[in-house]
Amino acid sequence: MITAERKPFDEIYAMTEGHDKVLVAGCDTCVAVCLTGGEKEAEILAAELRIKAKEDGRDVQIEHTAAIRQCEWEYLDAIAAKVEEYPAVLSMACGIGIQSMAEKFAPKLVLPAVNTNMLGMPQEHAVWLERCGACGECVIGDTAGICPVVRCSKSLMNGPCGGSHDGKCEVTTPEKGDIDCAWALIWDRLKAQGREELMLVNRPPKNWSKSSSGGPRKMVREEAKPV
């Protein structure tokens, strides 16, 4: 799923300045699952903003709402009446949902209350790890179901660099702590599968034109279009 983190409160609060009516809009799909931007989190953020505004002596109306998914037009229709009442919206959806809101209700001001960070999964409760870079050309059939594009810090395609040590990546930051070396994981799992010869194949340069390097992507499914 898509994961996101709430922006620092002060940054969000600064976005509300100059507005007398602000709607905090949650999204009850991905960002709700990662406990960042669902209806409950939208309600909490709206309350925090009201308290701060009151402390500052501002006369501002801050309410909340939520869409089932902000990234689909029909779910935005369901909250349209409420959104129309507010000149400014703080969206807590991922970057896709925020842009859908901004486009649907243009030229209304739609502002991001979260930083969208990855396509990941909860490894354990309250810990999410990146799993996919949406590179447009999946290689994990040959890499034991482990993505070297985003799980290797250097997106290497031919095995670990010299910085792999005891199964850990050379990149360690105070925020991230130790990172597993993707190629050490791949090597171990390929061996368990009896397919380690796949590590000996020299993979050619990756075709990045299928990733965001090729410009904004578009997918059309002709067979799925309405007749």
């Binding site: 250097k154 395609m157 910085g163 792999s164 199964g167 050379e170 050490a184």
Partner: protein, 314 residues
């Protein structure tokens, strides 16, 4: 061997091809537009090493580029091994730069992945990593041997390159390390330099694996050594440099002597002992001395190791 049989005809290639024990050094370009640094380092090393690595934004810190510094080294009589990392350039830039380096007379190229941006002074930079080091070796080999760009387009004049790579015998998974070198040989590497060796028993074990698959006959292997200036340097490398394996007895040995000149003398003595031991290992074709910001130690070490005079090749 006639000149036409060489891939690039560099001094390094000739020495290694003739089976002579090679000595390479390393020069880090300055972190400013100071044109004197490489000149000075070249003066120190000239005549004591066969070629010198010119690092490419080493440890992800911005410095004068390896092409300009390599050219400057060569203008001062010291053959360059231009380093090229995949971190800072995409395939267009890496091909453009090698063509540029080639027309300026640079013949040795060392293909590297590069230390991650997070280690350096621009941790917010976008890492390129369009290719990996193995892709880079293959791309340069195809430019040289097939006169082809990576995309398949033809070129009129191929760059004459002696293609190098690096390998870390102390990286993990250990059992994949010799196989990774095999991939680099298959991609087209002519010579390789290892990460700094302090753990000689482990290096010997790695060389056993290398010999077991015959790689020592397919690629010229230069063993990397870093002379230690003192116990501080030993501890730093043990604890903070990625992929480094410094045994405790090395740290203890450096700690057993007084700081300053006695420690430096011990560091040089240790380096000489290591060169002599490593030179005996079957399949080692030379030594790569990485005296980081201590280039002045190299002439003495090379002399004490009995590696002077450096061979003259036609």
């Amino acid at each position: 061997m006639s000149a036409t049989q060489y891939k690039a005809g560099s001094n390094l290639e000739k020495i290694l091809s003739e089976g002579k024990f090679a000595v390479t050094g390393e020069c880090g370009p300055p972190k400013s537009a100071d044109g004197t640094v490489i000149e000075e380092k070249a003066k120190i090393l000239k005549g004591f090493v066969d070629a010198v690595n010119i690092t490419d934004n080493q440890t992800a810190v911005v410095r004068v580029c390896s092409m300009a510094s390599g050219l400057q080294a060569q203008q001062n009589g010291l053959e360059a091994i231009m380093q090229m990392t995949c971190r800072d350039r995409n395939r267009l830039a890496m091909q453009a730069d090698i063509l540029g380096a080639s027309i300026l007379g640079i013949k040795n190229i060392l293909c590297l992945t590069g230390d991650h941006m997070s280690f350096g002074n621009h941790p917010e930079a976008k890492g390129v990593h369009d290719l990996d080091a193995i892709n880079l070796i293959k791309m340069y080999k195809d430019m040289r041997d097939e006169k082809k760009f990576q995309c398949g387009d033809d070129m009129d004049v191929a760059p004459a390159l002696y293609i190098g790579c690096a390998e870390n015998p102390f990286g993990d998974p250990f059992e994949f390390r010799a196989l990774r070198l095999k991939k680099k040989v298959e991609a087209g590497a002519d010579f390789m330099q290892t990460q700094c060796i302090f753990n000689i028993p482990k290096f010997k074990k790695w060389m056993e694996e290398v010999r077991a698959i015959g790689l020592h006959k397919e690629i010229k292997i230069l063993a990397g050594l870093t002379p230690l200036k003192g116990v501080g340097a030993a501890k730093y490398m043990k604890n903070f440099v990625p992929g480094m394996d410094v045994p405790q007895e090395i740290v203890d040995r450096m700690a057993s002597v007084e700081k300053g000149p006695p420690a430096q003398a011990e560091g040089k003595k240790l380096a000489v002992e290591m060169i002599k031991e490593i030179a005996e290992i079957e399949g080692v074709a030379g030594v790569h001395l990485m005296a980081v910001e201590w280039e002045v130690a190299v002439p003495e070490i090379v002399e004490m190791a009995g590696l002077l005079p450096r061979p003259a090749v036609a």
